[in-house]
Symmetry: C2
Subunit: 511 residues, 2 copies
Amino acid sequence: MRKIRSALISLSDKSNLKSLLQELRRNNVKIISSGGTFKAIRKLKFKCLDVSDFTKFKEILNGRVKTLHPKIHAGILNKRNKKSHSIDIRKNNFENIDLVVVNFYPFEKTIKQTKNHSKIIENIDIGGPTMVRAAAKNYNDVTVITSVDHYSELINELKKNKGSTSLKFREKMSRLAFSETAYYDAVISNYFNKFNNINFPKRKIIYTNLVENLRYGENPHQMGALYSQNIKNKLEQIHGKTLSYNNYSDIFAALTISKSLPKNAGTVIVKHGNPCGVSALKNNLDSYESALGSDPISAFGGIVSCNYKITQKIASKLNKIFLEVVIANGFDKKALKILRLKKNLRLVDSSKISFDEVWKFNSIDNFSLIQSEDKKIFSKKDFRIVSKRKPSRSQLDNLMFAFNVCRYTKSNAIVLACNKSTIGIGSGQPSRIDSCETAINKMSKFSKIKDEIVAASDAFFPFVDGIEKLVQSGASAIVQPAGSIRDKEIIKFANETNTVLVFSKTRHFRH
Amino acid sequence: MRKIRSALISLSDKSNLKSLLQELRRNNVKIISSGGTFKAIRKLKFKCLDVSDFTKFKEILNGRVKTLHPKIHAGILNKRNKKSHSIDIRKNNFENIDLVVVNFYPFEKTIKQTKNHSKIIENIDIGGPTMVRAAAKNYNDVTVITSVDHYSELINELKKNKGSTSLKFREKMSRLAFSETAYYDAVISNYFNKFNNINFPKRKIIYTNLVENLRYGENPHQMGALYSQNIKNKLEQIHGKTLSYNNYSDIFAALTISKSLPKNAGTVIVKHGNPCGVSALKNNLDSYESALGSDPISAFGGIVSCNYKITQKIASKLNKIFLEVVIANGFDKKALKILRLKKNLRLVDSSKISFDEVWKFNSIDNFSLIQSEDKKIFSKKDFRIVSKRKPSRSQLDNLMFAFNVCRYTKSNAIVLACNKSTIGIGSGQPSRIDSCETAINKMSKFSKIKDEIVAASDAFFPFVDGIEKLVQSGASAIVQPAGSIRDKEIIKFANETNTVLVFSKTRHFRH
């Protein structure tokens, strides 16, 4: 237990201060402060000593130097039980500071609000982190509070222990303090890297905020949690059971595809991270039915992402099958009423979420692979027609649609499409020919439409055999990246079978 | 340009100091230092002013407070072009500090060397980061050097600019300084979280070091890099073309499986992140041939991971097919000679690498899913025999082998095995029945051995149909987690067909 006799308070966020000050007064704690915090405390009618009067050193450089003083830091850093330290304190006429309540200049908020570099630089706090780090280091004797959120916990602690804090409490607050200073400098470091266009710095520090502890990870024997760099950018769950790790993983996979479709149109069904049905049809009901028709067996227990507001009519259709999650760009009141009949069905409103970051991290043990996202928006310019037969406008549209779905399907990926909807998806196979077979099997199992089938491949065909299978199954137009030593053979085969063949400039592996 | 007239030097790592001091002397730079650094500078016969003589304040608390003084921090933080700042400096009889050369107490090294908590705490540097952060904030006027690695760059800069530094240089060093302070506190924060068994703190800060800029990410239009928390834990490439992003991704997938096999035995072949052949046979040549035999088509262009030292004989076999990478627990000299004949083949020695971290990160846009790794080592105790027919010892061994491979295969995963080797793998399918079909197709295409086939499923069968297909194809023993509402039906079917059925306690989804 350590009695708190003096406190140094320096705050950028001055909210909720009153109850804390009352508790400190009840315990006769001497309060030291400066600048805006000093004024705020006096305005609330509490006694307070100005830092300058405490140190006998007047703040200079517009406040850049005020607490960076030996009297402050010796008061925080001295080990109370160490004789030589006590002697040093006495000799210098210093005194202990038992509690440090500090929050920092709002650097993260500032970079969100302005691009003015010197204003941003001015918001790098030097004195605050120094006091916090000193107090956190000396948690054996000193209590450090770094967030308004911890005031009530401190008040309870002081009440419970008659003006003292326990080692356990101080240790916890010290841990939280170091997470604040690390977070603070991580934001600064990332800002500087971004400002200087450094994508892969020698030391990369990633900061992220806990959104939710999950019941478990991919499997019940694994722990899991969801984090976000921007906690305001939220998925809003409006009904159903708690979302699981695998739900989130599939939701993100589904939303990534949905965001690539035309605005407010299209349906995506995802299972185990892969799309099993995608449609970009403008009519929402049609798009849902087409996406489902692509592979209704796999859709069982899947996740449906609607790039539009769900109406009563679509809700009734959705309710006919077992789904884990429905994500939508909003829900009609009547639609909600219907969907809520299923107690367990999770409903997620994605209308407020934005996807804008460009980096993707993947860790394996202590290694991390970091890459920019595969976000290239492709146009018809990226397609080079290499066959004698030229694609019709609708063929070209469908090829672009199918190739886009490929991009979000795990490699090797083959997508068969027709009428802006998938009709067969082959994913996650170690051999491209296997993905062709899977896609074709899906099509023959479920698809009734058979006119103007197009096929897309995420990477080049190493042999003619894959293309051959696709053409035999009815594909009249195929898109693939170039690059095989057998490209010429493949073009020859396309011409012999009067197939449209398009080479795309980009490859779209995804693992 | 800013002329450097004074420097504050405070170093934990005092190596390579001489050439820097010589350059500073050449430019008549006044040097201020303290403690061990002061002694080291004097020992090298350079002039140096003690911090205490500079501040007129004697260091106290065993050095805990020495540089935390207004004279130091005003000297660093004042804006040289701002009149009011210059007046403050003059009034207080302070002077400018133009260069700050500081590296920190070795916190990261200390936690690797000791478990002594108070010794670790003592290695949290307070004064160092404060000076560095102050100098980095004021980079418009001040130069900050935080690593011995930057001395030569500073020396060149001073030579080039006759004792001055350019804004560009100071800005770069400031950026590197903030990456140091962020990294430093990230290590501290993670240490405290670990010390207190906090798995998912409110603010998570991840620190990692650049190992290598990669030519590109998964695709040529994506940027990519490899990072590691422990740069000493290296994969050693000993031959061949530069490793690509996809190579690394597959290498990690392959090594994770290899590490789960018995020590110094077993071969794994990976393609697109999935195993296409795994064998745990003790004889290395047999294990390689069995792994390859599982799916020789997919192995084309794949990655082979040998959990053993490669001999001449195996090298000759490996050279017969086109492979991207061979990873091994060492290579015989004669084996190397053979493998090096293939100019492009990448050879990686994994004998020195250890995998020990437990956390796995996956980011999607600004969200991150964090989970503990699926590292549970399972024993026979995790298996509950639910069929009338009991497994033979070899069946049980094969079931355990197959279930382990399942764990590393993307869901839905079905693994057919025989003689401690896979003979058919179905992966990455949205529907379990499709994975069964894929695995069976592989087996019928490539496998000659057909006695005592076992099958493993990473999660439960929702219907009887999957099990039915496997039994029809010759599987005599099956392992799957329990959990379907049709478990009883499935047990009944197993009994009717005299099949061994085992329920495992754990599920092994992997996406």
